[in-house]
């Protein structure tokens, strides 16, 4: 479980609110004490023909007040990860045994639907991608915020309405007293997303899971929403899991970044480190494919091929077919996340090239051995494949 060897990757760009918390984190070095801890998460979907391993052994943690960016192409399993954390994976999907999601020291994967209701909202709230379809069209925005208020803060009637207006003001909606009684379709896209965020805040959560919250919005609105999120984070001391496919957005919001590919996290590092010194060939490819004004007319690079849809337990590197640096062992050994070099415990990559300072052969053996170590667990999970 080398993937969890994360330390306190706090971005110095962050505000002072963060700084106070980093002391706590330092005090509690043990990974188990992190607010949200995802370990070996495997979420599969059973179809008539096969079992899709949408999330296949993902591990990460989020500390209080921290923003973890989860980035990857569409189809890489980001949203399924978010839904798994929220307990929103329904038939025909399921979490395989061995998956663990711990929130505030409490194991969530064992909870019943009823038990989960007490965690959702108040513990972990979620902001979805498409703000229009996220709001129920037949109720006013105020009604839907008040619903959360009554569930999690016991407010009702005038109190709830006043609080709802306050929340709408907090998220920067002008004329909130009037807009609270309007319907979602009367809001513009950006305003809707603000309302959705207000609704999530109404639950008074500790962790906010944002699933592509800016993807459906115009670029200028995107920037406003991102700014709003970081202001709110500072104000409420929120931890945020920020999911996006947009490397540019991640650079702005995240403290730490996890890069997902085909259901696995391939690289994890503090944001500055990742951008300045990407290690996994996939991450490098992703960064090279960001359009940038500085590069002028230079031709953008692309990664050839598509994200595969994994339907059986990995025995090789899933990126190998698209990898410019692949060598023979990549098709035989499944890489596990390891520190990229001696001492860089907060920067891991799941690639046979690492640890960089070890001889290639030793590194490969290390990955292979870790994979074998994993096998009792994965034997349990392969049961899902045969279905």
């Amino acid at each position: 479980m080398a993937a969890d060897a994360n330390a306190t990757g706090v971005d110095e760009r962050r505000s002072s609110a963060r700084q106070t918390q980093s002391d706590d984190v330092d005090a509690a070095e043990s990974a188990d004490d992190r607010l949200l801890e995802v370990e070996n998460l495997r979420t599969v979907f059973h179809t008539e023909r096969e079992t899709i391993r949408a999330v296949d052994g993902v591990s990460f943690g989020i500390e209080e007040g921290e923003t973890l960016g989860l980035v990857g192409e569409s189809g890489s399993g980001k949203s399924v990860t978010a839904r798994s954390i929220m307990g929103l994976v329904d038939d025909p999907g399921e979490l395989l045994p061995g998956s663990s999601v711990r929130f505030d020291g409490r194991e969530l994967t064992d909870l019943t639907e009823k038990g989960y209701e007490s965690v959702r909202g108040s513990g972990i709230a979620m902001v979805f991608q498409d703000p229009l379809s996220t709001l129920n069209p037949v109720y006013t925005v105020g009604n839907q915020i008040e619903e959360a208020l009554s569930l999690h803060r016991g407010l009702s009637g005038i109190d709830a309405t006043e609080k709802a207006i306050e929340l709408l003001e907090d998220v920067g909606i002008p004329d909130a007293a009037r807009r609270v009684s309007e319907y979602p379709h009367e809001f513009s896209g950006g305003m809707r997303q603000r309302a959705v965020i207000a609704m999530a805040l109404a639950c008074d959560p500790d962790v906010l899971v944002c699933d592509e919250p800016t993807t459906a919005l115009d670029v200028t609105i995107q920037a406003q929403i991102l700014e709003l999120l970081s202001d709110l984070q500072a104000e409420h001391g929120l931890s945020i899991l920020f999911i996006t496919h947009d490397m540019g957005v991640i650079a702005e919001v995240a403290d730490r970044v996890a890069v997902m590919y085909a259901g696995e996290i391939v690289e994890q590092a503090p944001v500055v480190e990742l951008y300045e010194n990407p290690r996994h060939p996939y991450t490098r490819g992703l960064l090279r494919s960001i359009p940038s004004t500085q590069q002028g007319a230079e031709r953008l690079e692309t990664i050839a091929g598509e994200v595969p849809t994994p339907n059986k337990a990995a025995t090789d590197c899933r990126f190998a077919p698209r990898c410019p640096e692949a060598f023979d062992a990549c098709e035989e050994v499944h890489p596990v996340p390891v520190p990229v070099e001696e001492g860089a415990e907060d920067h891991t990559a799941a690639c046979l090239l690492y640890p960089e300072d070890e001889p290639r052969k030793a590194a490969v053996d290390r990955h292979a051995a870790a994979g074998d170590e994993d096998s009792p667990e994965s034997a349990g999970s392969t049961g899902g494949d045969s279905r």
Binding site: K114, R120, G121, A125, S133, N136, T140, E147, Y183, V196
Partner: protein, 338 residues
């Protein structure tokens, strides 16, 4: 508010519709190949009688004047008299006698599916791919393919033979009623009268509502299935709303939206279906009155009844728009719900 002005616009639109609907009836009755006066006297009378009928129907006037008077009479709700079926009786009086039975029949034909078909469909939609779901879906499909008149014939036979077939006598069950007869609608507030009237209409209402029942079951199921998968339902779950509240608050109201036109549309279809069902069950209602007026060539009565039906259908349309406006706030916004 924009949705109420949308509603007002819909109501305004009904005026030309009544106007044109009535015009079509006029075209068929007065410009068609059948001479109303000749049809009324059915060839029995002499020319003198024929002329007097023509005169009193205003057929001796130029067509445009006939048209103007026809419209004027109807729009001022002067529906005229019956000439053959019930000679000399005002149409309003006939409607007063015949309509309550049809309304009683139609009321239950709307209510029974609403309270049986719709809950079954919702239940099936909430429990998809279970045995009860398959039963409800299949039942709905077959049920709505059954012709009303045939179902009526079978039901009448089964009920009249219920003693031999099931060992219990439908006619004397609970209260004494007859199967093939119009219901007694006097003093319905007396419980025993109400029960008798309800029992008397029940078979006919079940038949007339059968297609609706199948449809509401099927469409209710799909509507719930689709709504359950909507993002806002997931959002509600993500903010910790209990399942029961999600279903009652977030799912049902949205699932009702596509059902509104189904339910009102069916209320309208009942008018056509009532002819057959009323004939089989010998309920002397409006459908039966229209049918006998038609086959007896009582064209003035037919024309007035048709106008009455047009008003009814337009009324149902307005009711539908009202329901839409109440349930769906998006009505009238960006063309949705039109």
């Amino acid at each position: 508010m924009s949705r109420w002005s949308y509603f007002a616009r819909r109501v305004l639109l009904m005026i030309p519709i009544v106007f044109f609907g009535t015009t079509i009836t006029f075209l068929v009755l007065r410009m068609g190949p059948m001479d109303p006066a000749a049809a009324v006297i059915a060839g029995a009378g002499d020319t003198e009688a024929y002329e007097s009928v023509r005169q009193s129907l205003g057929l001796d006037q130029p067509l445009w004047l006939q048209y103007v008077e026809y419209l004027r009479d109807l729009f001022t709700l002067q529906l005229g008299y019956s000439w053959v079926v019930n000679r000399g009786r005002p149409v309003w009086e006939l409607i007063g006698v015949y309509a309550p039975r049809t309304i009683w029949l139609g009321f239950w034909a709307v209510m029974l599916p609403l309270f049986i078909g719709l809950p079954l469909g919702f239940y099936a939609g909430l429990n998809p791919n279970t045995l009860s779901d398959y039963l409800a879906s299949f039942g709905g499909i077959v049920w709505r393919a059954m012709p009303n008149f045939w179902l009526a014939v079978i039901l009448v036979s089964v009920l009249t033979q219920s003693d031999q077939l099931f060992g219990f006598d439908w006619e004397s069950w609970l209260v004494q009623t007859q199967i093939v007869t119009p219901p007694e609608l006097q003093r319905l507030w007396v419980p025993s009268n109400f029960l008798a009237a309800f029992k008397a209409i029940l078979p006919a209402a079940l038949v007339l509502g059968s297609a609706s029942m199948g449809n509401e079951m099927r469409i209710g199921r799909t509507a719930v299935l689709e709504t359950v998968n909507e993002n806002y339902v997931e959002t509600a779950r993500a903010k910790g709303v209990p399942r029961r509240t999600i279903i009652s608050k977030h799912v049902f109201r949205n699932a009702l939206i596509p059902l509104v036109p189904i339910i009102t549309g069916e209320a309208f279809l009942l008018l056509g279906g009532s002819v057959l069902v009323e004939t089989v069950f010998s309920i002397n209602g409006l459908g039966y009155l229209f049918y006998s007026a038609t086959i007896n060539a009582d064209l003035p009565l037919v024309g007035s009844l048709m106008f009455f039906f047009i008003l009814l259908s337009v009324g149902i349309n307005i009711l539908q728009d009202l329901l839409y406006t109440l349930i769906d706030p998006r009505v009238g916004y960006g063309g949705e719900g039109a």
